[in-house]
């Protein structure tokens, strides 16, 4: 087994397609680190001028407003809510002026809690979240703003209570670890899963090019498939190496961050955020991605021994990964058991962060269920592969 693993691994590393995947990932990592990451413009940023402008406008309003029986109700409402709101903005400005990041985090936490409470609960259609949430065609702008404010509140609460070194880069989630967290929340899982599919698509069928060399090896088909799966898994895990180059570049520019930094996690059950540490968040992501790799590789091994066509492998892998795009509608989870579909767990970072629960109004799209679904699918695929490959008449080549 060990010798066969070494043999397969050498072939894997010499495979031009696999080398191309690693090179593309390296290019992507460098391009992202050098071009895209520096241009990141978060909605919830530390913008002293914006805070000051808002504070001064409201301060001016509060200084000049006359409240009597003729005052318009909305003016009365503004006069009632602005003092506390402005107090938080003032604390934020003072903290920034003093360079006291802890105090800024505390004040910002209070600001987000208060703002969300005002906008979402008391000021619907009167007060608005940051205007950048209200993009054309977004029917869920208020919900997005609500999620972002709750998320930010939880995040800043974590910063205020934690021991991590705080900075503007940390507040704007620009450090290397936070950039990784943001990427896991968007396209990084897809990139990793597609890489895994590309690695596994030909791991069995490449042997068709060298049959007489391999057919007589003293190893059973089942064991050779397990080794091939192991090699594809190792290769998929090794994608972290080219991606790490981008991570290092961002770390040099914006700092590495801290594994104790808080990462907010939403629970649909409590309709509230709690925080976990960055280390735990990354571990949970890695775990679910690893289970995804298990599932995809076992599926592709099964398709390889049945259909014996690389294109069929690519199609099967891509269908599983991209199927969510065919059925996903925001809120669908409320009416359908999508938590039993493996493809519902493609957005790994969003699953861990609870964002998928929020989008689908579902309590079921959790890490635990994701691992369960992946494990069940993997076991089914491997069981079928075992039965077929051990059939006396079955020939792989």
């Amino acid at each position: 087994m060990r010798a066969y693993f070494k043999f397969e691994f050498i072939q894997f590393m010499f495979n031009k397609k696999n080398i191309a995947v690693y090179v593309i990932l390296l290019f992507f990592a460098c391009f992202y680190a050098l071009k895209i990451a520096p241009a990141y413009d978060p909605i919830e940023k530390v913008d002293r001028e914006e805070i000051e402008a808002r504070f001064l406008t409201r301060e001016d309003f509060l200084n000049n407003v006359v409240l009597d029986e003729n005052t318009y109700p909305l003016t009365r409402f503004a006069a009632a809510i602005y003092p506390e709101w402005n107090e938080y903005d003032k604390q934020r400005l003072d903290a920034l002026a003093a360079g006291d990041m802890k105090k800024y985090a505390e004040a910002t936490f209070n600001w987000y809690v208060y703002s969300d409470n005002m906008i979402f609960r008391n000021g619907k259609d009167i007060l608005y979240y940051n205007s950048r949430y209200y993009t054309a065609g977004n029917l869920y702008a208020t919900e997005d703003g609500h999620y972002a404010y709750m998320y930010s509140a939880s995040r800043f609460d974590g910063y205020a209570k934690g021991d991590s070194n705080l900075s503007i880069n940390v507040f704007e989630e620009r450090t290397a670890l936070q950039t990784l967290q943001r990427l896991l929340h968007s396209y990084l899982p897809l990139i990793l899963l597609i890489s895994c599919i590309l690695f596994a698509a030909d791991i069995v069928l490449k042997d068709k090019k060298n049959p007489s060399l391999i057919k007589g090896f003293p190893i059973s088909v089942w064991r050779s498939l397990l080794v091939k799966g192991g090699v594809a898994l190792t290769g998929s895990i090794l994608t972290v190496i080219p991606l790490a180059v981008g991570f290092v570049i961002i770390a040099i520019r914006n700092g590495i961050g801290d594994l104790n930094l808080p990462v907010p996690v939403f629970s649909y059950k409590t309709k509230a955020f709690t925080t976990i540490s960055m280390g735990e968040y990354l571990f949970q992501n890695a775990l679910l991605i690893l289970f995804w790799f298990f599932m995809l590789i076992s599926l592709l091994l099964l398709v390889s021994i049945i259909v014996k066509n690389e294109f069929a492998n690519l199609v099967a892998g891509c269908v599983v990964v991209f199927a969510e795009y065919y059925y996903y509608v925001r809120g669908l989870g409320y009416v359908k058991d999508i938590h039993w579909y493996p493809s519902s767990y493609v957005q790994v970072g969003q699953i861990i962060a609870g964002y998928r629960e929020y989008l689908n109004n579902s309590v079921a799209l959790t890490l635990k269920n994701g691992l369960l679904v992946m494990a069940v699918c993997t076991v089914i695929c491997l069981l079928l592969t075992f039965i077929i490959s051990n059939h006396r008449r079955y020939k792989l080549l």
Binding site: A3, F7, P218, V221
Partner: protein, 300 residues
């Protein structure tokens, strides 16, 4: 020990192998000779279980059969087949190929260097096989099988693309392996070379394995002499047949006319010689019937 029991292979209603039953012993080199497409490779594929026979079974040491996948693995520890040179990994070196085979069969790693030396591969073994000539690739394939060090070795056209020196080196190596107790089955067209080291040589015809000694007897040519006439023609053959109706006369595809006659009738040589001179064919050779002559007669 390798035993074939009533092996039958049938493709589209045509019998490729018919009820073959034979036993091959350790320390024996077996030669398989036949024109292309007569079943030599099929027989080897059956022994390796790459091809499931329609009837019969292959039995190895202690009654081991291809009855399960587990047994197949055990058997493949004992028996190996020489890889095809076109299947080599062009991006890997010869040495890497040898290491792969050595580690897969868990054989003595020292065999790698000793085989490289014995086959004179030192100058190129560390280069990628994509740069090798046909002969170099063939030598590497042979070396890979030697390095696997299995009890039974199957070799299909092992001498293909090799120069006479290399053929000699490999022949010597085969004899050495035989002395070590290996069972070696070789399919080859180099009949004279095969004759040097093979313990038993079989011709494959109509799905059967025919031992050459039996063929000599069956054809009544055991101990016969042969006259080989270069640049023979159909007319010459007809004239000879008319003049010597009791002799077996054959015109080969190479243009050689083959006349065989019993050794004890050597006096005929004079009359045949005179006949050939009269017919403007003074150049001919006389000798013992070789395996090549027998092959020509058998497959004529």
């Amino acid at each position: 020990m390798l035993e074939l029991k009533n092996i039958g292979v049938n493709f589209s209603g045509r019998d490729i192998l018919k009820e073959i039953s034979i036993t091959f012993q350790p320390g024996e080199i077996i030669g398989l000779v036949a024109p292309n497409g007569t079943g030599k490779s099929t027989l080897m594929n059956v022994i390796m279980n790459y091809l499931r026979p329609n009837s019969g079974k292959v039995v190895f040491n202690n009654g081991l059969e291809y009855s399960s996948k587990k047994n197949e693995v055990k058997i493949h520890q004992l028996v190996s087949m020489m890889p095809d040179q076109s299947d080599l990994y062009n991006h890997l070196s010869g040495r890497q190929h040898l290491k792969i085979y050595s580690s897969m069969w868990n054989s003595n790693p020292e065999l790698i260097d000793s085989t490289i030396k014995a086959l004179g591969m030192e100058s190129y073994v560390n280069k990628k096989t994509g740069t090798y000539s046909l002969g170099m690739r063939q030598r590497l394939c042979f070396a890979m099988q030697i390095v696997s060090d299995t009890q039974i070795m199957l070799m299909d056209e092992v001498m293909n693309g090799l120069d006479p020196t290399q053929v000699e080196i490999i022949s010597q190596m085969l004899v050495k392996k035989k002395a070590e107790g290996k069972t070696i089955i070789i399919a080859s067209h180099l009949l004279e070379n095969l004759e040097k080291y093979a313990d038993r040589i079989f011709f494959v015809k109509n799905g059967s394995l025919d031992l050459i000694e039996d063929i000599y007897s069956d054809l009544g040519v055991n101990g016969n002499m042969v006259i080989r006439v270069k640049e023979g023609t159909e007319q010459l053959k007809e004239k000879l047949a008319k003049a010597f109706p009791e002799l077996s006369i054959q015109l080969l595809a190479s243009g050689v006319t083959l006349i065989d006659f019993p050794k004890n009738e050597a006096d005929r040589l004079e009359s045949i010689s005179a006949f050939l001179s009269d017919n403007d064919k003074p150049e001919f050779s006389v000798g013992k019937m070789t395996l090549g002559d027998l092959y020509s007669k058998y497959y004529h």
